[in-house]
Symmetry: C2
Subunit: 187 residues, 2 copies
């Protein structure tokens, strides 16, 4: 019983890496089977909905992680500046300083956007709105906070694209530093 839960969670972690590396279409069941060590029987036992359910589970897990580690603190931490600094720290760690792709962003650009449109939209909207909330609580007015939050979130995504495009993870690190510095948070 517990074993079931753990195996499925392990599978989701492995699936995340596979989808990140090969995209949705490129992540064939044979590749998934090879990487997870699970045969089709097991995979369809854990994910009766097939590949689509596997990808949905991965997106849900990512969304959940960000909600817990980033979004919620942005909304609830009594010290919004600290929560924002934490956001940059966690973001750098999660994306491995630019060596890791944002799966949600990759899905948003690809042909599978429509299939997972709702989840993709709430992920990005959640990030943007949580950051806007924190920025507003640092003293900015509503409009400025929203504009700045939108800019930071999209710039982070763009930095991931550019870092991978020119094969230079430092692009991402530099972008994070610039964005964080540009917010002028009290140390």
């Amino acid at each position: 019983m517990t074993r079931t839960v753990n195996e499925r969670a392990d599978a989701v972690a492995a699936l995340a890496e596979i989808f990140r590396e090969f995209g949705y279409e490129g992540a064939s069941l044979s590749r998934i089977g090879a990487r997870t060590g699970l045969g089709k029987g097991s995979l369809y036992h854990f994910f009766p909905g097939g590949k689509e359910e596997m990808a949905a589970a991965v997106l849900a897990e990512i969304d959940g992680w960000f909600e817990r580690a980033v979004f919620a603190p942005l909304r609830e931490d009594p010290d919004p500046a600290a929560a924002i600094r934490r956001m940059f720290r966690e973001t750098d760690a999660y994306f491995r300083s630019g060596r890791r792709v944002c799966l949600v962003g990759a899905f948003a650009l690809g042909d599978v956007r429509d299939r997972f449109a709702a989840r993709i939209a709430t992920y990005f909207a959640g990030w943007r709105d949580a950051l806007a909330d924190a920025l507003r609580r640092t003293g900015r007015d509503e409009g400025a906070a929203a504009a700045e939050a939108e800019h930071v979130v999209s710039a982070i995504q763009g930095a991931l694209v550019l870092a991978r495009a020119v094969d230079d993870p430092d692009v991402f690190v530099r972008a994070l530093a610039r964005l964080e510095g540009g917010l002028g948070l009290a140390a």
Copy 2:
């Protein structure tokens, strides 16, 4: 003879839209055939290298267009501020105010990055370096120009991702306005 060239050019334009819409793997030969009106025989006549050559041709065409319409002016226009303003105008038009995806960026995030790594890298590096050159000629020192150029290019990419993710093209329009305004170019 001329007809040949024209038909191939037409095919490349159609191919660009298909790859944009479905990604590399999603752009099956049957879909390509249906959309271009060309059978496999014709496709392989124009692109003996198959799908890979089709995608390469599309990337080359995109690269060529940006080089002509954006990068070269950035590097050569005696009025660098005007060239930068032109860049924003052309960028907005090319990406249909956020309704169109950047194919190069999508490839960079996907599993086909390795296959087209060189062309992807030169596209983005070309953009960044041309913009840095123009910024330097507006009076910035080398380092500041490079940093700002890198930021603008990646922020544009990110805005395309976010705009598509939340299904709101205005995100892209807002981002362009903010970036252009942030450069403080003389009107």
